[in-house]
Amino acid sequence: MRPTAANFEDNARRALADAKLRDALSKLSEGFPAKRRDAAARLPEFEALRDQARDIKNHVLANLDVYLETFEARVTALGGRVHWCRTAAEARDAVLGICRKAGARTVTKSKSMIGEEIAINEHLEANGVAPIETDLGEYIIQLRQEPPSHIIAPAIHLTKEQIADTFRDKHKQLAPDRSLEEPRTLLEEARGELRDKFIAADVGLTGANMLIAETGSTVLVTNEGNADLTYSLPKVHVVIASLEKVVPTLEDATTILRVLARSATGQDMSVYTAFCTGPRRPGDLDGPDEFHVVLLDNGRTRMLGGEFHEMLRCIRCGACLNHCPIYKAVGGHAYGWVYSGPMGAVLIPNLIGLEEAGHLPNASTLCGKCEEVCPMRIPLPRMLRAWRELQFERRQASTTSRAGLAVWAFLARRPWLYRLAMGLGVAVLGRLGRGRGRLRRLPFGGAWTDSRDFPAPPGRTFQALWRRQRPGGGR
């Protein structure tokens, strides 16, 4: 997907003006946070499990090479294959190569953020292989040729009417006057459309929530069961995953699974959790003949050990999106690339560069709600600030703000001068607002007073009044 993160301001403006989007996002922000809260309340050990999940990932990252090699050895011992890819381009070629060797015409896909990151669909299409999204939300946006707007609920920005219109438009072989009013009928239609495609597919392409070093297994979590049909029906199962997905043991994966769904949707456990280990075994009645894992770096090793190391603990649950007031205001598309919300604001500059993604870490009040709900205790506000520091150092912040901050700092370290300047400033504003209590238009304050009044300062500073009241009452 071509990034439009540099157009964040326009994207955001458009999103704010979109009434349908506003409704959809309202529902999101009412639904998921309440469910998460309930799920956490039902599990007394929830906070302790968050700590353990964080500790597991910290341990893995500190030994990442060893665990990846162990994972690879187990996969290979069972007849599977691991493909190491430094870049998105390498990963695209690896996947295409596997599909070509299998003579694949169609490839069913379950939702994969890495798949989005490397834009695998376009690549397959351009090379004569048809990718078929099976996650309902992904299926819908594939029909609409839109990117996902949420990392676990990709079509969250759409109303059912919009979805119905899309189905009427694209499912041309069905009766045009059929009723598509209820979500149930939409679901039935999608299910019907996809069923044969599941069975006919030559290759199944999935992501992975985790890779387990101990057993060479991949962990796949869904509610729909589409991933399970994707990896069990075709002859070839391909998993694409980024390096940091690995965990040591089945027990460690279990701990993380206990906080994943609760944080994401408020379920105690997602409906389907699949542990796939290698190709089918002798005597199995079904399952793939081939098992491939495409391991992607694409910037992760650059993050390792540095300022953004802790971002590698992310398990892509989406809790930070669900609780972020900025995400609630503008939705996922405004961020301009595959990820969004607080995790997107930290991760995207790491993957596509700070120049392109510069707005994202700045469009935040650093309210800290994201860190409060992150199951892996990732210090997102700290990392957003770190991006701002880098921008300031690289002179990417605007000249006006640099100049403004320099003047302010000059004054702020000279208290007597500061008091003089501020005293004058408030005296002026005080005269302007005198009697009315508020200013409807601020000189130089356009942005504030476009939508807010500015409460008028009373005209004298506290320090000045205090010194008059209590001369010598300070130091």
Partner: protein, 261 residues
């Protein structure tokens, strides 16, 4: 009446904060009253200016450190340093030590200051153990939990505990009292439309409570919310929580004219 007067009076340096200093001095006077009623000896160092947060949140750590040094120097020697602001107190308590991570002598001084620094209402309840509050306030109050105070300093129960002691005051929490109001320092002027949407949601939540009074512990949030309430023609009275706690409500509410009552 406080039930446990301090053995020796606590010597408290009041960090007024630039927003209080510039836009609402009565908050400073209310802060002094509350601290003195709690048995503290209050001094207000003249050398204080700003905590440095605007620079820090803009990524300008150098200037933030320069300003922080001024603050650290100004406030050395007190038993406690108290600010009527969760974000300023949070800046000193949580972020000053990080700012000087590469400067061990300064880091030590920063940590020493951080250990003694508190947001004012939580200081009254948790440290001074004071429950001296105004005898009465006639009104229904809803309290907004400013983000830094809440998440960096754990200020949540303390203002409510004190407000509940005031006769005639009914407290009602908004469903979204913990949701950011959209001020965010420079955020509200850098991304004004998003900020507007956020403050609108906050105002909806406030109006839904039916309260006639909005209180909070941070001037930035209060200016933001009062500004939007006023633009939407609402009569909700907005004050800093210490004004009501100290019983000093002679000043018109934030954003209201003298004859607006």
């Amino acid at each position: 009446m406080s039930d446990k007067p301090a053995a020796t009076p606590l010597r408290v340096g009041l960090f007024v904060t630039c927003l209080v200093d510039l836009t609402r001095p009565c908050v400073g006077f209310a802060a002094v009253k509350l601290l003195e009623d709690a048995g503290c000896i209050v001094a207000i160092p003249a050398a204080q200016t700003c905590c440095g947060q605007p620079a820090y949140n803009s990524g300008d750590s150098r200037n933030a450190r320069t300003v922080a040094r001024t603050v650290i120097e100004a406030f050395e020697g007190f038993d406690y340093v108290v600010a009527p602001s969760g974000s300023c107190a949070g800046m000193v308590k949580v972020h000053y030590p990080k700012l000087f991570a590469d400067d061990p002598p300064m880091a030590k001084r920063a940590r020493a200051l951080a250990a003694r620094t508190y947001e004012l209402v939580s200081f009254l309840v948790d440290v001074a153990k004071s429950d001296v509050v105004a005898p009465a306030y006639a009104g229904t109050v809803t309290y907004h939990d400013s983000c830094s105070g809440l998440r960096e300093l754990g200020v949540k129960a303390q203002p409510r505990a004190l407000l509940n002691k005031i006769k005639g005051l009914t407290l009602i929490d908004g469903r979204e009292s913990e949701v950011c109001c959209g001020f965010g320092g420079l955020f509200c002027v850098k991304y004004p439309e998003i900020s507007s949407r956020m403050v609108d949601a906050k105002v909806d939540d406030i109006l839904a409570t039916g309260a006639d009074t909005l209180l909070a512990g941070d001037m930035g949030c209060l200016l933001n919310m009062a500004g939007r309430l006023s633009r939407r023609g609402s009569g909700v009275r907005v004050r800093h929580v210490v004004e009501v706690l100290a019983g000093m409500t002679a000043e018109p509410p934030i954003g209201a004219a003298a004859d607006d009552r």
